[in-house]
């Protein structure tokens, strides 16, 4: 299944990385994945599987959490990037939208968006145009542009975080749970934006998502992580057809979608053991 990804030299390749927090907690136990140029790749997996950790390892934000990559390599655009600073990466076009929003609470929404353009050198005009673009995507933000981000609602903050990343005109976006806390309508919209950017501007996406259903609808390729290991990967459409995935991630058992009222009492999980 991996062959296809290897044919075109991947834009981003993660080779067998291990991540340790605090020198003692081993979280990733050899994760490899590759993201082709112009692709949308989804990382799926349960809570604590290590999705966020993987993304942070790529964008080099681990150090700030006292974590480190102890093994393996990460190659972006032909160069090893473990030793680069996150800002170098952003300059090279790879930006991360962090899980849990992380807006700058004391800055207004508009200032928050403007920080996204920090690394840009293409003049005020272009930045202003992009600002308009973000506001067009998220009209709600335009209404709240002068509010301090700390006081806005959870969903507004999430939009702000995504808009902020868009402001840097990235070529690659690492999206960590973009749908979290957003109204269903907006979730659709966000994924529309993703696919738009992807097709029109060739932006590459790597996204960690709990909403498997929608993620697999838009992604081209998917990886499933369980406790720090990749247990399965494949074309999105293949994954959608997979029995296990259907049962555990899409909730479609043999007899179609179950109501949440009817799920079994305390069923044991099935784990893929790698």
């Amino acid at each position: 299944m991996l062959q296809k990804a290897e044919e075109t030299a991947p834009l981003l390749a993660v080779n067998n990385i291990e991540v340790i927090y605090n020198h003692v907690i081993l979280v990733l136990k050899g994760v490899s994945l590759s993201v082709p140029r112009g692709g949308i790749v989804a990382i799926l997996g349960a809570n604590g599987a290590g999705k966020t950790t993987t993304l942070k390892a790529i964008s080099n934000l681990l150090r700030a959490e006292r974590g480190e990559v102890t093994k393996g390599t990460i190659i972006f655009d032909g160069a090893e990037i473990q030793d680069q600073s996150p800002s170098d990466l952003v300059q090279r076009g790879c930006i991360q939208v962090m899980e849990g929003r992380h807006c700058f609470g004391h800055l207004t929404i508009e200032e928050n968006l403007m920080t996204g353009a920090f690394t840009r050198k293409d003049g005020r005009g272009a930045i202003a145009a992009d600002l308009e673009m973000v506001y067009d995507y998220f009209p709600r933000l335009r209404e709240r542009r002068k509010s301090q981000a700390g006081y806005t609602s959870g969903g507004e903050q999430q939009m702000c975080a995504i808009g902020r990343a868009l402001m840097s005109r990235p070529t690659t976006i690492l999206l960590d749970e973009p749908s979290m806390g957003l109204a269903p309508q907006l979730v659709e919209e966000i994924f529309e934006i993703v696919s738009n950017l992807n097709t029109k501007e060739g932006v590459t996406f790597l996204l960690a998502e709990q909403n498997t259903n929608i993620a697999l609808r838009y992604a081209t390729y998917g990886y499933i992580l369980e406790s720090g290991r990749v247990v399965m990967d494949g074309e999105a459409k293949d994954l959608r057809e997979n029995e296990d995935v259907r049962e555990f991630y899409l909730g479609i058992g043999g007899e179609g979608r179950k109501s949440f009222r009817d799920v079994k009492h305390y069923k044991r999980r099935k784990r893929w053991l790698a």
Binding site: N22, H23, V24
Partner: protein
Amino acid sequence: MLYREAGDFKTTYREDNQTFPIKSERYLFWGAMLIAFCVVPFFVNSYWEKSVLVPLLVWSLVALGLNILTGYCGQVSLGTGAFMAVGAFACYKLMTAFPGMSIFFVVILSGGVTALVGMLFGLPSLRIKGFYLAVATLAAQFFLIWVFNKFAWFYNYSASGQITAPERTVFGIIVTGPNAAPWATYLFCLTFLFIFAWLARNLTRGRIGRSWMAIRDMDIAAEIIGVEPLRAKLSAFAMSSFFIGVGGALFFSVYLGAAEVTEAFGIDKSFLALFMVIIGGLGSILGSFLGAAFLVLMPVFLKNLFVGSLGWPTDVAAHIQIMLIGGLIIFFLIVEPHGLAQLWRLTKEKLRLWPFPY
């Protein structure tokens, strides 16, 4: 494997709530206590007493107190020096006003007086937070020191403004004044520390401690959960001041023997105590001891190393020593921002995994 907890299972919640849940740790602790109470007193001389042990014990007590406030309840305070002064002056006034009272109760009462004063100065914490509060506590620091310096009643109108601890006894054993035997002052302080460490442990492991920590970690959420901020904060201020007051009383009566308020309880004491709890580990009882030990012993050690062993001129040695202490503080923070206590925990975790790296 040096350190194991495997095979040490708890069957009751009571056992699980123990201070030292792991057997080997428990033995280690009681062993250490045995040595501290029964062996050390026979060997302590006045140098060890006055330069190392008593300051260590007293500062541990103070650090413990500050840790309750700053480490457990999250209220950064820079008024420690002044609260120590309250303890010291309360102690002095009580000693001189009631010469017959046992010094033990005098010290406890001094703590009580300090607790009241601490609560008073803790009131602003209901509105003021973080570093704003830290700086605001300096108001207490400067104001109280000014009061003790200003009103001669506090130092019994002595011409010099100094207070000198008269000789007092416990069970007929002299513990204050110049004629106190090293072992006596040592044991006196150790007893206090032991009692108070136990008290601190009890307070922090139950409901009270949790309400403090909840306020520290997220005060709004804590309030919504049902923690009453007024009570939690004021009780932390009171308890912390109580400890610090007792520490101040011992500091003056047992350790220094004489003190002048501006010099003995200046703002540098406030900072020193804060260093101790941060270096040792915020929100950790063990950390209070480690921090106090680090900051009391390190200078003595460095001094003896440089001047005593290497024979450097005292001033060069002193300058380098200051630099080194600064450097070490930074170094430890880089290695483990959560203090020596956390370092110790991580070491244990590593030992547990030993010989595997993780």
